[in-house]
Structure formats: C-alpha cells, structure tokens
Symmetry: C2
Subunit: 445 residues, 2 copies
C-alpha cells in the first residue's frame, strides 16, 4: 500500500477521552473512531489488525478440529426464557422489540442458540464429539464503557461450544481448547497465562481465564515466575491424543497462577520467594466445562452406545478478538507508539523515502516495494512529501516492526537502512540484503 | 475435511416452509438454520460459501483501489436525525433504546456514519479520491421476511462509499464500481446484468442495479440478448484509467437492459425482435452517484485547489453478500441439488469411498485426500459407512463441482471415476490423472 492512497488519519495530539495507553495509541494511529460510547468504527489500519487476529484464531481452531460456522447477532428472547437466563442477565443485555412486538436481544453469548441447533440436528453419540465455533459481534450494554476496545459495548468474540457424550470426552475438549488458546496467543506475540477462575453467569466447575500481564490490567494476579518459561515454539500437537493434550494442560497449570478471585495465599506462600510474582493482568479468553447445565433445560440429548438418551456434556470457550488489539498494545508499546509483533502487524515492512521526487530514491523505493510484494509481504510505502522526521514519527506511531529507509546519500554508497521498531537498531545494507533479511524474519513465522 | 468429523446435517425431506428452490436446497444441504423469521444461523457448509463469496468481494474491491474498514452494526439515532432520514426510514429500521435511554438503531446502510468519519478526518482535496467500504451485517425489519437468505432481516452486505472533489471524479468512481462488480459476479460464476434503476430512499440520479437472471427473481427484466455475450475472462483492468473504465461501462450499458421500473417499451421495440428478451431477475447489487445529498446536510466539505470549501461528491455501492448464495443457487441447480460454480464451492472435490473398511479402497482414498490437500485444494471425503447411493445423493445435494469415486472393482483395473456435477459425465482414470485433471481445473481459475 502507498500511503498517498491510503486512509491513515493519525492524530498529533493525545485525545483527552483516552485513559489508557492502548486506547490513546489506537486513536492516534488512526485505527479506530468512536461512533458512540463503547462502539467503534474500525478504520483501515485497525481493521487490518483485527482481521489478522481473527485469522490466527480461525487457523488455530481449525487445527484443533473445531468447526467454524456463524450465528446471527440478534437472538430470540424465547430461547433465553427456556434456559432461564432471560431474566437473570440484567441490564447488560440489550433488549429489542421488532415491528411485530416480538422480544429479541443482541446476543452477549450463544449457549442457547448453539444448543438449539444441536438438539435439532444431532441425536446419536455417533455424531460426537463435536465442537462448533464462530467469530461474531456481540453486545453487552456496559453501564460505563471505557478503555476503548478493551471494554466496549459492541465487541468481536470467538465463542466455541463442545458437545460430548460424557465427562471424560468433554474434559478432553476442555484441554484441546486450552492448548489451542495458548498457541493462538503465542502466535500473536503474547504470553497469556491460564489462571483458575470463577465461572460467573456462564456457570460450571472447571474454568480457566487467560491473562496477559500488563500494568493496566483490570485484575490483580499472583503467579509462579516459572510459568513464564513455557513456550510452544515449533512443537506440533496431535489434538486427537488425549494424553498429550492433558500433559500440556498439566504443564501449564501446575505452576501457581491465579487472579484475586481465586487466590489462595497459603498455596502462593509455598512457592520459593524468588519466584512469587504479583502483577496486573488483562483477560483475553476463558474456557468452561459446565456439563449438562444447558443441555438439560434445553433438552439436548443423544442416544449413547447403550441406546439410552443422555444429556450431552458441554463447555464454552471464548476469545476476546477485538479486545486483543488493546491487550497486545498494552503489552507492546513505547513512548513513540505501538510495537506490533510480527504475527499481527498490519503491514510487514514500512518503506520511507527520505527525498520523494528524487529519481534514484523513488526508483529504489519502487523496486523494494515490488520485491516485498513479490515475496508475498505487504509493505506500507510512505510516498508522501512529508519531511523525514514526520515520516519516522508516523511509522513509529503505527508500529510496523521493520522499516527500510531510502535516501540519496545512502544510495550513493549502495545501501539502505533497515530498522527494528522493537530494538530501535538500524543497519546499513545493500537493498537486496535488507530484503533478504525481512524475508527471513517472516519466513521463520 | 472428513465427513465423519464434519457437521453436515442434510435433510431428506423438503422443508415445508421453503417456497423457492434456493431456500429449500440451503436447508436440505445443511447450510443454514432459521433462528427466527428472516434470521439465520450459517451452518458450517453455508458459512464456507459465505466466506468464499466475501473473499471474492474483498479481493475485487482491493484491486479497484478501494480500502476495507469496518463500521459497527449499531448506530446512533442522532446522526440519522442530522441527515433527515431517521423519521423517513419507516418501520424497516430496527430502533433500539439502550439502558441509558439513548436512541440507537441497527444499521440498514451507512451513508451517515461514513460521512461522519470522513468529515472528522479529511479536509483537503489532496486526500481525495477516497473510497472506503466494509462488509458488515445489516438489519431491515421486513414485514414479511421470506425466501430464506434472499429476503432476510439480518443480512450481510458490502457497502462502499466514494468521496471525490467533483462530479467527473465521482463518475469515475461510479464506473470503477461497475467494472469491479461485473468482475466480482463473473468470478462467482454469475452473469449479472447492469440495468438502469430507480434510486429509492438512497437518492441520486445515476444508479444501476445488477440482476441475475432466474425464474424466481422478484423483478421483471427486459434486455437485448447481445449483453449475454460480454465477458471479462482474463482481461486486466487499469482502474486508474478513466477512459478504460468508461469504455467498459459503455460496452456493458449500451445493449438495452432495464427492470420494469425503468422499462421503456419504445426503446425495447427498437431492438431486432430476435434479440428481445423478457425474463425475471434477482437483484444482487446496486451502485449510486448522489452528488452532495449527504455531504451538504452533514457538512462534509474539503478545500479544493482554489482554497474554497466545497461539499464532496459521493456515491454508495452495495453488493448483497448473503443474498448472493441464494442467487447463485437459483441460477445453478438441478433436480438433485446445488451445482456450485468452482469459484465459490465450499469444497473443491468430493471423494466417495464405495467400500469403507476395504483396505485398498481406504488407502487409495487417503492418498487422494492427501494429494488434494498438498495441491492447496480442500477435499470433502465421505468416509462414513453409508451405502453408495446415499453418499452420491449427499454429494449431489451439496453440489461440489467434482467428485472422485473410489471402489475395489475400479482399483483392480487401476482406475477411479471422476465425475462432473454439472454435466453428470464420468470418466475412468488412473488416480494420478484424475488428480492432475482436478488440479488443472482449479489452476485455470
């Protein structure tokens, strides 16, 4: 993309309404614009990152054997009356009446609707196990929406639902979700720690939240620093292997890690003092096993191998897709702006032309641009007439992890400059080597 | 995907509620499930086609230089009061009140919101031309929703908005949209004819609808059969070339083609009789140039080259993404089920194992499956224990354009069967040649 043809309305001033850094930076980098309290338009740069995050979530869910579909945003109140949650849910549920006077609601979650689909179509244990998920906009009418996309009212969430014939199979689904979530966050450059959690209005006994450490997190968290050493890297997981998945879950849930809701000071104090950590965390996902809580009232049963009708065992599993943008920025930024992890960056590499209009510099930039595109990468080429300082400030603000700077002086010596946004370090290299290095960085991903 | 692990709830019976063939086939093929009147869940197979269609729309818009973003589903009533459309829109607008008593609505279209974004961030002609678009769920509270996804209440639409400094530039944007739309439909295997249309509540002078010919279409259409000979094929378009785009538009709008709303019998009768056609059509898109209709009331002005503030010239351009599934099926099916065009098919090739459990047949199917995946294609392998007839019926119903049938008898002779869903013709071939043929079909696309 050439910046002269893009829509990137960066702001020079800090917007007054933004209390936390991710909100401030998303507004300044021209990623979002507030439409109403807690409801945002995703401007082109923000939309690109949102799509990248959504794609990673899709890919990891499909790898785990979960099946994508899509439920509508609006739901019938009747189903929620059947489960008994219509009256429980309180004022956060946005209630709507259509032209015929029928009660509807903007879905805050989808246990009822997915269970209705299941009970209409599945009647035998032979069709199980089954995990369906979707990524769809949801609404919670927060009384005081704030922190930008971190606590918005209209938000994008991945929610998945497993249906299993019994508890052991449902617990394997739980484990599969934990593993796929950990991999999902790692690909986004995040370390999200699974913490034993409270189940809240979804219900259920087994539940873990995934928390990203950040000073602005809404929860106080307590953990054993050993957990920070755990990584997947290139490890290939066989999601059909119950023991392998259970082993990974054990590995990640053995070190102490809890939020203030479930914190147990006695257990915490048993950790060697040097490894005890207290911090703040941002919740970016949660998984639940809740057994037959919804299948019983909604009549979602299957015939088991003995020909007996049994209610299915279910769980639900969510990732806050739009919220993740905020969480990533909270975890990865500096005074100059955002620092995107390579896995989610909106453009792979920036190109800054120090002297737009100079025939040699223009030609070198065009060649770099075409080469990056030919490699399957997306460059953002600042081809405007802004001065160099302003171009650098914009690139730093929007946080592309790599930048190639091209100027007449360097070109005389046959070099361009390759700069890492994270380290700030620059290297002078012939253009071909700069390209090779960028290619190598992204090929490794 | 292996069918034994997929969720494909096909129906044997014709659902009573479906009046038209696309609705019936989408329900029978397990693509959608009604959640409430005019609101559908997209089951896995339907979701895959929806995504394929969405991706083609995105790709062709980006090629035309249009910039993707995303506006929220809910909008503030205040903006619609500013444009004067809040009271005009009638009962089709779903009006909502939040917990603080603020008036909102579920967006049926986005002229107001995009103009608000524009006026907040753009003030100079130097930032033009600019075309922003999104693909987002919309709601129109139809009094009698029917025909499945063809006239639903919650529907997915691509809507794009161009901002130009003057009328000639805006008319180039109009032409660019017409060209990109024609290419979009052609990639989906559809012939959509641009027809001069009425502007309705969007307003404006220049507007064309795109209609797909089908017996169940809601509009009566009149056209010169010459227009059916127009194709893009491999033709590359330079969207920056005003004359090229205008030339294509002229080519496609010169043969007579109108709906009953704009039909002119005198002009129609001037066509040689052998070329006069009357048919029915399904609307799958519409483009509008409406000048300053929204920019004036909403104060969206830019400074022009003379330093004078002028209201921008706008147009809006929509493609009915979810409706397209219905239109494609209406245009491409037979008694046995759907016939997907290769460009949108949910799986590229079906594999039917005639004797599941037979070691040789199983091994041959596995090899075919792995080879198709290695080619970057998505097969659907029916690895269930159903009898052959039921497997064929399901494959025909869900409409994959190509099927490879594997059985012990053929394997003894070293062959499998490759069948075209469209022609019904089968060919016996060694597995490698069947694979090569499927690869060739999709490589040509």
């Amino acid at each position: 993309m050439r910046l002269s043809r893009y829509f990137l309305p960066v702001l020079k001033e800090n917007p007054a309404e933004a209390q936390i850094v991710s909100h401030r930076l998303m507004l300044r980098a021209g990623m979002i614009k507030q439409a109403q309290a807690g409801i945002y338009s995703w401007l082109p740069l923000g939309f690109k990152v949102l799509k990248n995050i959504e794609n990673i979530v899709h890919e990891e869910q499909v790898k785990a054997g979960h099946i994508p579909m899509l439920m509508p945003t609006l739901q019938s109140a009747d189903l929620w009356r059947e489960s008994g949650r219509y009256d429980d849910y309180g004022e956060e549920m946005l209630r709507i009446t259509d032209r015929h006077g029928r009660d509807m609601l903007y879905g805050p979650t989808n246990e009822e609707l997915i269970t209705d689909i299941f009970r209409s179509h599945v009647s035998s244990y032979r069709d199980l196990p089954l995990t369906l998920y979707h990524i769809q906009w949801k609404f919670r009418d927060e009384i005081r929406p704030r922190f930008g996309v971190m606590r918005g009212r209209e938000f994008l969430m991945k929610d998945g639902y497993n249906f299993d014939v019994d508890k052991p199979s449902a617990l394997h689904a739980y484990n599969r979700h934990m593993v796929s979530y950990l991999r999902t966050y790692e690909r986004m450059g995040l370390q999200a720690i699974p913490m034993r959690a409270d189940s809240g209005p979804i219900g259920g006994d087994d539940t873990h939240e995934f928390l990203v450490l950040a000073d602005t997190g809404e929860s106080e968290v307590f953990y054993d620093s050993d957990i920070l050493n755990l990584k997947f890297g290139d490890r290939v997981v066989d999601y059909d292997d119950w023991e392998e998945c259970a082993g990974i879950v054990k590995e990640w849930t053995t070190p102490y890690a809890r939020t203030d809701e479930t914190h147990d000071p006695a257990l915490f104090d048993a950790i060697p003092e040097a490894r005890r950590r207290t911090s703040r965390g941002i919740e970016v996902g949660q998984i639940f096993y809740f057994g037959t809580k919804y299948s019983e009232p909604l009549g979602a049963t299957v015939q088991n191998a003995d020909g007996k009708a049994v209610p299915v065992h279910m769980g639900s599993h969510g990732i806050g897709v739009s919220r993740l943008l905020g969480a990533i920025i909270e975890a990865s930024h500096d005074d100059k702006g955002i620092i995107w992890p390579e896995g989610v960056t909106p453009f792979h590499c920036g190109i800054v032309n120090l002297k737009q209009g100079d025939a040699e510099a223009d030609a070198a930039c065009e060649t770099l641009y075409a080469s990056l595109v030919a490699m399957g990468l997306e460059p953002l080429y600042d081809d405007t007439n802004e001065r160099a300082g302003a171009k650098f400030a914009t690139m730093d603000l929007i946080g592309l992890p790599w930048r190639i700077t091209v100027g007449p002086r360097g070109l005389k010596n046959g070099v361009v400059e390759l700069t890492s946004r994270r380290s700030g370090e620059s290297e002078e290299l012939p253009p071909e080597l700069a390209l090779a290095k960028v290619a190598e960085i992204y090929a490794a991903r």
